[in-house]
């Protein structure tokens, strides 16, 4: 355990997540102990309302943890200021961007903000980082198009390229495959897998595409009401983790194919 601690990028210790208002505390999940290693593609799956987004929001310091700690590169998350965090962790959200009147290049270049000067001038190193993010994502042909000219799938790729340009060890994506058709869902996830292999970055994403995640991820975090488990997909299948992920009156998990079937 100790020998590969340098290999760990993110770790949570007895983490409780939820919302706190003046009088009440709504705990969504507690006792979360996760370890994310460098160079892995990790999927986060679970039913609607189980707390996937809350977990991601806590891991990305958008909202504070109720209890316990998140360590990013062995340093507690709350010890990072915004700027230091921006150099280690980048995010891709489900919310649409405010202005689409930017060229693809300009949008991806905004990923360099943590490194640029007070007025945001791109140095040669910045331009190179943007161009390498663009070529990693095969967006060269589109780079001078405006964002409002893009399809949903293309825009999602651009947002991921922006996170790449931010040059962080860890990228966290909240449901990167929503609004995409079946082909593009597989395309984006397969391509995340390739990115992990080529760049050595760690990518954590939440998704409802459990079948695809099982096939592509190095490890899966499965959130259920009573427990959160994190393991390699085949181990999770043999442990029967997916069997009671959803109520079994409509869909059942088929262990041989690793996918869900509608009960006839």
């Amino acid at each position: 355990m100790n020998s590969n601690s340098h290999n760990i990028i993110l770790k949570t210790k007895a983490l409780s997540i939820g919302y706190r208002s003046k009088k009440t505390e709504i705990c969504i999940a507690s006792g979360i102990n996760l370890t994310l290693k460098k160079g892995e593609l990790i999927g986060l799956v679970g039913g609607n309302g189980i707390g996937k987004s809350t977990l991601l929001r806590t891991l990305t310091n958008v909202q504070p943890a109720l209890n316990g700690n998140v360590f990013l590169n062995d340093k507690p998350l709350q010890d990072y200021d915004n700027l230091a965090l921006a150099k280690v962790l980048s995010i891709v959200l489900t919310e649409p961007i405010t202005s689409k009147n930017m060229s693809i290049f300009e949008l991806i270049a905004l990923g360099r903000q943590p490194y640029t000067n007070w007025v945001g001038t791109l140095t040669e190193a910045d331009t190179n980082a943007v161009n390498s993010a663009i070529s990693h994502t095969n967006l060269d042909a589109l780079k001078h198009k405006k964002c409002y000219e893009l399809s949903d799938g293309q825009l999602q790729k651009v947002m991921i390229a922006r996170a790449l340009a931010q040059d962080t060890d860890l990228i966290i994506l909240d449901e990167p495959t929503t609004h995409l058709d079946m082909y593009h869902k597989a395309y984006i996830l397969k391509w995340l897998k390739k990115l992990v292999e080529h760049t050595g970055k760690t990518i954590l994403f939440s998704s409802h595409e459990i079948d695809l995640a099982i096939q592509l991820c190095d490890r899966l975090i499965v959130m259920k009401t009573d427990s959160i488990v994190c393991d390699e997909p085949c181990n999770l299948i043999t442990q029967g983790v997916f069997n009671n992920l959803f109520p079994d009156d409509l869909i059942v998990f088929d262990e041989t194919t690793g996918s869900f079937r509608v009960r006839k």
């Binding site: 965090l85 903000q113 945001g120 331009t127 780079k143």
Partner: protein, 343 residues
């Protein structure tokens, strides 16, 4: 291929247009003055001014400079508010600046009949209206800021600003109801806006506050560009959201507040100029937009003022009416021609 379009030529053309319109604006008025006299007036000793030179130096030059400051300042503060609130309908006055100024001025002009002789001691001079407008906008803005510091959501600040606007205009209505016809007329005249009432020393105060506001605006260029992605992304890119929001609001208050204090509540320009500039330049990058809005604001205000003073007549139209009469058709025409709103 270049990563970004260069706008150098457009900027040079716009700058030349500003200079040309500046001279046209100085030259036109109840008497037309040829360009040569304008140039000569700079080289004449103040004691030896001819009538025309006196008009130029003490009346028309300050007015043309005011027009440039008002147009550019309102345009920039409108741009700041539209980006901060992610709302194309936001303008420089969404934080209650005009309504506060109106309240201050209404209290000075109309308050005497309601409250009694408290204000009668204050002669209704230019400075007393300026001070009343500044105090009024400062108090309302401060209240909006204090209330807004309790909320995390930027949209809530927008609504709070609008609510305070409603409260103050209600107070103004009550005051108007109890006022005499002369007082009402004087208040309405203030509401028309005016670029021509400033002496050099007033202009000096105006320009200094304006300059501070401009520096704050330029300092927030990077934050404004980051905010184009939305607040959560901006935070994830290392932006200190609270600090940037405060700087943007201070910049707007200084620009729009001082303009309203010295020139009255000039409508429409602050809302329209950013849209016109975005449609013409087709970019959302504030490094381009801020200088572009500065130039377009100056151009449109100089044109509006030249028309408002009705060349070769003794009449001057209210500048507030002209800005909308000229500006609104331009925005409509641009939107129809481009068939698409860019924001």
């Amino acid at each position: 291929m270049k990563p970004q379009k260069t706008y150098t030529l457009t900027f040079i053309l716009l700058l030349l247009l500003v200079i040309l319109l500046f001279f046209v604006n100085v030259s036109l008025g109840s008497v037309s003055i040829p360009f040569s006299d304008i140039v000569n007036s700079f080289f004449t000793d103040a004691s030896a001014y001819t009538n025309k030179e006196y008009i130029i130096q003490n009346y028309r030059l300050p007015k043309a400079i005011t027009a440039i400051l008002v147009g550019s300042g309102l345009g920039i503060s409108g741009l700041l508010m539209q980006t901060l609130f992610r709302n194309p309908l936001a303008g420089p006055f969404v934080l209650g600046i005009t309504s506060g100024a109106s309240l201050g001025v209404a209290l000075v002009i109309m308050g005497s009949s309601v409250i009694g002789g408290v204000f009668t001691a204050l002669l209704i001079s230019k400075w007393s209206l300026v001070i009343a407008a500044s105090l009024g906008s400062f108090v309302v803005l401060l209240t909006v800021l204090i209330v807004s510091s309790k909320v995390r959501d930027t949209m809530a600040i927008l609504i709070i600003g609008l609510m305070f606007g409603s409260i103050t205009s209600a107070v103004v209505s009550v005051l108007s109801y109890f006022s005499s016809a002369e007082e009402l007329q004087q208040y309405i005249f203030w509401g028309f806006g005016s670029l021509g009432d400033l002496q050099w020393e007033e202009l000096g105060v105006f320009a200094s506050i304006y300059a501070v506001g401009l520096v704050f605006s330029i300092a927030s260029i990077k934050a404004l560009n980051t905010l184009l992605l939305g607040e959560n992304y901006a935070k994830s890119l290392g932006l200190d959201l609270k600090k940037s929001r405060l700087i943007i609001i201070i910049a707007t208050s200084l620009l729009a507040g001082t303009i309203t204090a010295f020139a009255g509540p000039i409508a429409f320009i602050g809302l329209a100029i950013p849209h016109i500039t975005r449609l013409v330049f087709n970019t959302a990058n504030h490094k381009i937009l801020i200088p572009a809005v500065f130039l377009s604001g100056a151009i449109i205000m100089l044109i509006c003022d030249s028309i408002a003073q009705l060349p070769n007549t003794d009449y001057t139209l209210p500048i507030n009416a002209i800005t909308s009469l000229i500006g609104a058709p331009v925005v409509i025409w641009l939107l129809v021609r481009k068939r698409k709103m860019v924001f």
